[in-house]
Symmetry: C2
Subunit: 697 residues, 2 copies
């Protein structure tokens, strides 16, 4: 092919032969870096970075309030790449902006966040440039994206966080928080229900600091979006209460700039900018699904570079002046703003020392001294209370000391007991409220709570445990991102009773336990709940799940039995006989008191038994072998686990000689007492099963 | 309170003192049965049945084409109660319509599907009236609902099924399939993303046989919907391409009838009827969230009955003539249509014997003789092929014999390999197509595939295994409902490689294994895939999950090793040494060939080892103790499990003395070879670990 074939549809495109300006060069640098990195890795997604390079360029260079030297500046604008597969777009922007790397403690390492070498190592082991952007792994990445729709949801959480921070901390002359949140979304994001849930919530909340830029390229993996997706997305967002702006051509940077200006001037609702783009822009695969998820091929890259007016033999080429041009545009604006903010914040600390201290703690993911002073100790009480109720009491006791512990429920607060008493709701008319109404949107709630946590709020979301299934992706991402989010799951077993099998979790405990990096507690009584909440508060880099009962649980007599502090070790000996036990009963949650009752009955029968409460397998597995041996001595093989959930995983603790009283089927609709009888969760059955193991010995 | 207080807002409502006609009496019977049942059970949801009784009454008595004597008539209209918590509405309708009970084989039991006694046993153990409607449990319940949004999605699948059945089986004078699908949805349904996904798909597919009736009562559990949900839902559905109709008052049965007539006359898109209702209509709690999920209380029930002009001392009262009126209205219309259909189908079988036989088989959930004749046997091949590829080949080999095996992918067909070669797409212009494009909507796909299975199609849906997380609720429901759906999950491990941790399943195998009633296979080579697909086809009352690799797997030499038929037992001895093995290697999927390689290396080193392939734990656990002992003899405690997934559950097979090579963290972004090395999935590591266990003995 000759470069004189001007009739070629690529080279005939006027956008490809613009002014040769630095702006044009920068945009094409983003494109070519993306093409080259994917080609070298021999895998990845070149088409979207090529299409959206003008969008990224315009937004970052003209609008984003960001200081590349201080990527953790709390009031920076957030840029979320919800189309995480287009990671090379983000890596190119981070590289060209000259973002400086910081480590986990916020200290500069002296390295670039993403160097050109890193880009050449795209998708390689231990590189800074994994296939999808990973929070904590690469400085400048605001959230881990890739599973579609999650970044959209996170961005709503970030926008909520900004509104709340502004409401709480901004004072008269001190506008500490006034940043915006931008998310770049694609057709896949728009098809996923989680983004629909988050968008409806954002519209309701009138989050005018939120701007989604929707890359409408009419291409999906199977072919044109007309195969499955021809709704009027703009109209849908209007129905959600968003301001909707259409841009016909992603290359029209002037129109894009105008749209972002409109966003910034809109103060009563979020903004949705629909940008029509051509995937794989400028390449022979332009406008085709073949430009989406595979390298263009060496020859196509040559043709494309030629079309861009680019030196076709150069790979990973950044023309002189490009990086400086892009960096300066961002750093001049962002640096000045950040300087001003720092000075302002220093004054703020003098004017409002308490709030200043609070902010410092919050931003460092730390807790104030005495944060736990009001956590109640629950007196022994055979009637007791549901762990959802004790959970609510403990939560209410903590928020007074940790005001940034905020969250809510997916329309189940009266049942999950997570409302903060006397506190206002977070609503468009009161962004200082702390009770969040996420609506019947578990998935959206999960993504939003993650977004709030990414802004250093100690955020929580609650629903029934069985509805974990509706929000698995954000729960998993909270673990991958090592966020301190707290998931409150109530109605944790067949204890749900009459609502029946669809509402009775069976496998959800195994699901949580199988998920790496999350601390899941199923506490056995109110005092175990208190320790579980302590652990949740102290888990700053690990999400916590609190799995709580609907039904009342006796509050155990801790003078008679061991302290609930053992919860912090994940498992502990709660009740014991003298000497080596004949049998060990292991239980969690509502079955702990059942095990204790059986223990007493066994003792009366002359059988020596031990009760081990094992609320967090995650924590227990982190203990020393010596500790574990002291709790579950190898010499005792008669072990019985009792849990109103599926059996999977219990073999580890009961061994091949052990038994379990667990659920091997789904539950049923009936009052709990009937179900307990039907499925064997009775003192008599525990006693009989335990003694049968002794007879077999 | 006196019944002469005519100024009371309840008694002043003209709808409460209408004509005393049978229609009015029937509506109030539905209301009072619902109130009484919830009160007696002391739990449940009275408010929505009270609000929607006029809707249920009008739809069933005037429109639903349904024969109460033949509730499994294939061409019946479907009524889906997506608001499953309002189960008493459905039970009242079933009871008053006089639906006759049929058993699992379709035979009449001679009982009413729901008797008045059953209604008095609402939410009690073993009753026909569980808290939420359960498919297979109660005749007349078309799908299990309760988890919100699922019924909406199912209804789309049912409407798709009707379109496909009509396209394939209707011939000239034989309109065998022309039924409609109605779903009754609430605010919660509308907030859930799954319904948004399904609605967008339904609009795209122009399913004019689908009608959603949306009960807009402005109440959610936490309070008014204005706490979290004030979008313009009607406008949103217009954006999806639906016909939208508003009805101001749920009591306006004439307006409702007109709306349903409009639906029936609309032939180019689905219909969305927004009905404004008052929750707990007629009661002192009317219009309040307090009418949603708890009994009204004895005194409130008295007041309400008084307001209805009802005998306030009577409970579970069905006035004379009400049941006959309602039953006759439905049975006269539906019975005639069903009679006509039966006669028509008899003629059809003469005119189109092959299609008639096909339909008989399909409706009986049976397979034709020789259905498996074209399943290939894959020759030994060290290079082999990915199990997603062999899965695609086997699927393509079956569809020729089982034309109602239809499904598709959530926009990943080129990767999941589930496209049927040479087949058309199911699109609005061709409802006879068999390749389904569900869009990037895993959750919607799951609910739709369930809906298709509920109409006896052997339906499948495919995506990447990690995105199981996006569709957990319908996967669970497929198991609860005992559907024969097939879930094809590819990219099943860190074998995903460069896409990184967000795309690499770790815990998803444990999630599937912990879910009761689902047959999950992770086959080790192409011939194991073929047997797994055989099992999936024969699993008519159990869903199947096929967990398949992205990367190529060697096709094992079945002359040298055992037949892959052992897959049907869930686990089998694949390779063995003479005599009792020193060590047993247990593996699934891509790690089976790794285990075989290690076995050969161990043999060369004089170590006797056995390789057990364990593709389905579900099936293996159903085998006899003797069989299990023959595969995993208790005497051999040196056991090593190898699986590119989390460890949870493996203790059952390796025991406390065993070891595993599994994933204890999330994966990483890199080419698979690097990851295999990093995480220990190499022959050398398997060999070293296995021999270390022997040294320890």
């Amino acid at each position: 092919m000759s470069d004189t074939t001007t009739a070629d549809p690529i080279t005939a495109d006027p956008h490809l032969h613009e002014d040769g300006s630095l702006s044009r060069l920068t945009i094409d640098t983003i494109r070519t870096l993306s093409m080259d990195a994917v080609q070298k890795a021999n895998s990845g997604h070149p088409g979207t970075p090529m299409a959206l390079a003008p969008v990224g360029y315009t937004l970052w260079s003209q609008f984003l309030r960001y200081d590349p030297s201080t990527p953790d500046w709390p009031n920076r604008d957030r840029f979320v790449l919800s189309v995480g597969h287009a990671s090379m777009l983000l890596y190119s922007l981070i590289h060209l902006a000259g973002i400086e790397e910081i480590d986990a403690e916020g200290h500069k390492t002296g390295n670039e966040a993403v160097s050109l070498t890193d880009i050449e190592q795209f998708r390689q082991l231990n590189s800074k440039t994994p296939g999808h952007p990973e929070y904590r792994h690469t400085t400048g990445v605001e959230t881990t994206t890739g599973p579609l729709g999650q970044g959209c949801g996170n961005s709503v959480g970030m926008a909520i966080a900004e509104r709340w921070l502004a409401a709480r901390y901004n004072k008269d002359e001190f506008a500490l928080f006034d940043h915006d949140v931008y998310a770049l979304c694609g057709d896949g994001d728009m098809m996923e229900g989680v983004s629909a849930e988050a968008a409806s919530l954002a519209g309701h909340l009138k989050l005018s600091n939120l701007c989604w830029i929707y890359d409408s390229n009419h291409i999906s993996i199977e072919g044109g979006t007309d195969l499955a997706f021809d709704e009027d997305t703009g109209l849908r967002f209007a129905a959600y209460g968003w301001n909707v702006i259409h841009i016909d051509d992603a290359n029209d940077t002037a129109a894009l700039a105008k749209a972002i200006e409109t966003f910034q001037a809109t103060d009563d609702r979020p903004t949705f900018i629909v940008v029509h783009s051509v995937i794989g822009y400028g390449s022979p695969k332009a406008g085709s699904e073949k430009a989406h998820g595979e390298p263009l091929g060496e020859e196509n890259i040559r043709i494309t570079k030629r079309a861009y007016g680019w030196p076709e033999d150069k790979s990973f080429y950044v023309p002189d002046g490009v990086a400086a041009h892009f960096h300066d545009a961002i750093a001049d604006r962002g640096g000045a703003l950040r300087d001003e903010w720092e000075a302002n914040f220093a004054k703020y600390k003098t004017a409002h020392p308490d709030l200043g201290t609070e902010l410092d703690l919050m931003l460092a993911d730390k807790l104030p001294d005495g944060w736990d002073a009001d956590i109640p100790v629950f007196p022994a009480d055979p009637k007791g209370l549901a762990s959802r109720d004790s959970g609510g009491k403990v939560l209410n006791a903590i928020v007074g000391k940790v005001p940034w512990l905020i969250g809510g429920s997916a329309d189940l607060a009266p049942s999950t007991k997570t409302d903060i008493k006397g506190a206002a709701s977070f609503e468009p008319t009161n962004y200082g409220g702390t009770n969040f109404h996420f609506g019947v949107r578990e998935h959206g709630m999960g993504a939003v709570v993650n977004g709030m946590a990414l802004s250093h709020l100690k955020s929580y979301g609650s629903t029934f445990f069985v509805f974990l299934d509706y929000m698995r992706p954000p729960v998993r991402l909270s673990a991958i991102m090592e966020l301190g989010a707290v998931w409150v799951f109530t109605h944790d077993s067949i204890g749900v009773g009459e609502d029946g099998p669809t509402h009775q979790p069976i496998e959800q405990l195994a699901i949580m336990r199988s998920t790496p990096g999350i601390d899941t507690f199923r506490p056995g009584d109110a005092n175990e709940v208190a320790y579980a909440w302590r652990a949740a508060m102290e888990n700053s880099g690990t999400p916590t799940a609190l799995v709580l009962s609907r039904q009342a649980l006796p509050t155990l007599d801790r003078d008679k039995y061991a302290s609930a502090e053992g919860v912090l070790k994940g498992g502990y000996v709660l009740a014991d006989s003298d000497g080596t036990p004949d049998v060990i009963l292991i239980a969690t949650g509502s079955e702990v008191s059942l095990a204790v009752e059986a223990h007493e009955k066994l003792a009366a029968d002359g059988v020596k038994s031990r009760v081990v409460s094992l609320p967090s397998w995650h924590r227990y597995e982190l203990q020393s072998d010596a500790y574990k041996e002291s709790v579950l001595p190898k010499a005792v093989s008669a072990r019985l686990a009792i849990e109103m959930a599926g059996e999977l995983g219990w073999d580890r603790y009961v061994g091949l000689q052990g038994k379990t009283i667990t659920m091997s089927t789904y539950g049923a609709s009936a009052p709990l007492a009937k179900l307990a009888d039907k499925f064997g969760f009775t003192v008599d059955n525990v006693f009989a099963t335990a003694t049968s193991m002794l007879e077999n010995k």
